[in-house]
């Protein structure tokens, strides 16, 4: 339930004034928020114990990171950071604490910070599988495919190595064979989260190959294995939007409005359907991006660029955000938003860094075809 005054407050925020429009709920029983596990005041006692005992700190930090993953809530990363803080000093002997700390940094898109911490972790424990896997992931997001492949090889677990390696190969000119190779991996024995990972890799590869029908199958499988995986949900929503199925997007993402990337897809669907609720979604997104900009962290700059391009229709501003985003991450979606913003702004040459990246690595993606040709 959104009160009109709260709406007005957000619109005001968008308009540049910080004034809120607070309200007084009608009765004492009105529920204002749910308290999720791990966020109770009384649980701070466990955190105090964690400051004394590493064997309390590690599982607690892991729990918070898991919560962050399950809910998409960045606050849990802060809680994990608070728990890890006493254990990651320069003279720490705990590789585990460092790997967890790197995970926190990487989730906040501090990729160089994460890599530096992972190096410290490997200095303490050279064969740490998690450290290698996290490195491989970060390097892949940065577009450092050779280094990412090398990190994949060091993980150890054969199935994970194969998934990791083929995922990277699929990005550098071996898409068809990587797609086939991952389908060969037997998923019967896989735990659900690993199966969801496999399905999301396959789904994205199918999208890049232009096989949306197959991609939809993989995304649905992945969501069955891990319903909380909003990465798959976002990719699936994009597929639906591309195929003019906005109404299904609203069903797929119902109740997920508090996650900015999903709210963005909801807004794009609302725009396609000329839904008056768009105004509200758009104001919420703008307020969230404004708060992020004020904080100085650009965790959602990719989404912001798309918001400016597809909702606001401001290609100049979108191009600025997309270029900023390109400095930080280089996944297919980052390439796409930069190319589209540059083209819409009438300066296709501004996407040159992305075009060069795609050519250098031989990235295959049917969605980029028209945009590559549009280059000057």
């Amino acid at each position: 339930m959104i009160s009109p005054s709260a709406c007005a407050a957000m619109l005001a925020l968008v308009a540049g004034t910080a004034a809120g429009a607070p309200f007084v709920p009608r009765d004492d029983s009105a529920v204002l928020a749910e308290v999720t596990p791990g966020t109770r005041h009384s649980e701070l006692a466990a955190r105090q114990r964690a400051a004394q005992r590493l064997d309390v700190a590690l599982p607690l930090a892991q729990l918070y990171i898991k919560q962050a993953r399950n809910t998409g809530d960045l606050r849990f990363l802060g809680y994990a950071e608070a728990v890890l803080d006493p254990w990651i000093g320069p003279d720490t002997q705990s590789a585990d604490a460092l790997v967890l700390h790197a995970t926190v940094l990487q989730s906040r898109h501090d990729f160089s910070g994460a890599l530096a911490v992972l190096e410290r972790a490997r200095a303490l424990r050279p064969n740490d599988a998690q450290a290698w896997l996290t490195s491989a992931t970060v390097l892949r997001v940065l577009g450092e495919y050779e280094k990412s492949l090398a990190a994949c090889k060091s993980i150890g677990d054969a199935v994970v190595v194969e998934l990791c390696e083929q995922g990277v190969r699929g990005l550098r000119g071996e898409l068809t064979s990587a797609y086939a190779a991952i389908q060969q991996i037997d998923s019967q024995e896989m735990p659900p989260l690993e199966r969801a990972w496999r399905d999301s890799e396959l789904g994205e590869m199918a999208v890049r190959l232009g096989r949306d029908g197959e991609a939809e199958h993989w995304f649905q499988n992945g969501l069955r294995a891990s319903p909380g995986d909003f990465y798959i949900r976002a990719a699936y929503a994009d597929l639906l939007l591309r195929n003019g199925r906005a109404r299904e997007v609203l069903v797929l993402l119902k109740g997920q409005e508090s996650l900015e990337p999903l709210l963005l897809r909801i807004a794009i669907a609302q725009k396609a359907m000329r839904d008056p609720a768009l105004e509200h979604s758009s104001a919420r997104l703008a307020a969230a991006f404004a708060a992020e900009a004020q904080r100085g962290d650009g965790v959602h700059r990719r989404e912001e660029a798309r918001f400016l391009l597809e909702i606001r229709g401001d290609p100049q501003a979108a191009l600025g955000a997309a270029l900023e985003n390109w400095k930080v991450q280089r996944e297919a979606d980052d390439v796409l938003v930069l190319m589209r913003a540059a083209q819409a702004a009438g300066v296709p040459q501004a996407a040159q860094p992305a075009v060069a990246f795609v050519r250098e690595h031989g990235v295959e993606d049917v969605r980029m075809a028209g945009l590559m040709g549009a280059r000057s």
Partner: protein, 366 residues
């Protein structure tokens, strides 16, 4: 199980994320005073002070209200505002709720007294959520002289924000509005002026009020009174604003109330029937000091002192003229009626005198 844990981490890398923990500190600077609000997400407030008393997993409005005091204590212990030398003393009002993109926020309004002189900088020590969530940030917005500045509070000790000077145009519009608003909301100046203007459409003949036959003398009467009042209060307003002369506010406020009593009584028991502009001028000097106290509260923005003073004064004149233009033609139209000459002059003036007498006692005593 090892693989599951590994995958969990990998997916964390690509997973999208939610908005981070932000507190919102909005501050408006008014001279040496601050007013504003601090906002914390409901769940951040739960971590900080514990709101869910019955531990049913839901924070209700009743639970939030019952923790007003705890919230105040928490904020007081972890947020300090000052001007660099003094710490401001905050007064909190009742909590409300504000909805933002990631859920409901506790909205705690406050006012703060920061000493005697108007603020040229605001120094903030923000340590909310410290030790609980290192990624928490305070998003600050400061409004001063009609402009807004923003900043990020990181919990790393005191942060000083120098207040920017307003542009001349902004100072002009801001102070013009304040002037108009002040004359309309501060009813005592208008009552004084009206008391002097009521007889402007009449003349005294054989111990009775009778209507002036022509518009011209009425107009001249009005013009004289308004002009005398304007010149007098502009003069003292300027002297006080530039701190050439300073009078204790209890004295000026009391004399202003007394001036209304005298002006109103003069309509019932006329002593000064010709040249009421002299009363307007004499007491106008005191009213100027009254206007100046408003400016002293707001402060004159550095770099735009003269223009602010002029536009405030202009606002006062505009507001005052608007009332004169609205009331006096009506008074002129009905000046010959018994209603105007008897009821309005006698009982209207008596009501004004009584009201002003109450003010006089209140202001003089305390």
């Amino acid at each position: 199980m090892r693989a599951a844990a590994i995958v969990c981490l990998l997916l964390t890398a690509t997973a999208h994320a939610h908005i981070a923990s932000n507190g919102f500190l909005a501050v408006k600077v008014e001279g040496a005073r601050l007013s504003g609000s601090i906002e914390l997400a409901m769940r951040d407030a739960e971590l900080a002070v514990g709101l869910d008393s019955n531990r049913d997993g839901a924070i209700t409005w009743g639970e939030l209200r019952s923790h007003q005091r705890d919230l105040e204590l928490y904020v007081r212990s972890r947020l300090a505002l000052g001007d660099g030398t003094h710490r401001c003393s905050e007064e909190f009002s009742s909590v409300e709720v504000n909805e933002r993109v990631d859920g409901n926020y506790v909205w705690l309004p406050f006012t703060a007294d920061c000493g005697r002189s108007r603020l040229s900088r605001v120094v903030v020590d923000y340590r909310l959520l410290q030790g609980i969530d290192p990624s928490h940030r305070g998003l600050l917005s400061i409004t001063a002289w009609g402009g807004t500045q923003t900043g990020v509070l990181n919990g790393q000790g005191e942060q000083s924000i120098a207040l920017e000077h307003p542009s001349a145009w902004r100072a002009f519009t801001e102070y013009l509005q304040t002037g108009i608003w002040h004359i309309w909301s501060g009813i005592d100046h208008l009552l004084f002026l009206l008391s002097l203007l009521l007889p402007a459409v009449l003349r005294r003949r054989h111990r009775h009020w009778e209507a002036v036959p022509l518009a011209a003398p009425a107009f001249v009467n009005i013009l004289k009174v308004v002009t005398a009042f304007t010149i007098a209060h502009s003069l003292t307003l300027s002297l006080a604003a530039f701190e050439v002369v300073r009078l204790p506010s209890r004295l000026t406020e009391s004399v202003i109330a007394a001036s209304i009593v005298i002006a109103a009584l003069n309509n019932i028991f006329p002593k000064v029937t010709e040249g009421r502009w002299r009363i307007a001028f004499a007491f106008g000097l005191l009213h100027g000091f009254g206007f100046a106290s408003v400016l002293a509260d707001m402060g004159l923005p550095p770099g735009a002192r003269v223009i602010s003073l002029l536009s405030f004064n202009l606002g006062v004149e505009v507001g005052q003229l608007a009332v004169v233009v609205a009331v006096m033609p009506m008074a002129y139209a009905i000046r010959a009626t018994t209603f105007y000459r008897q009821t309005v002059m006698r009982w209207g003036s008596s009501a004004i005198a009584t009201l002003a007498l109450v003010w006089l006692v209140q202001r003089a005593v305390g």
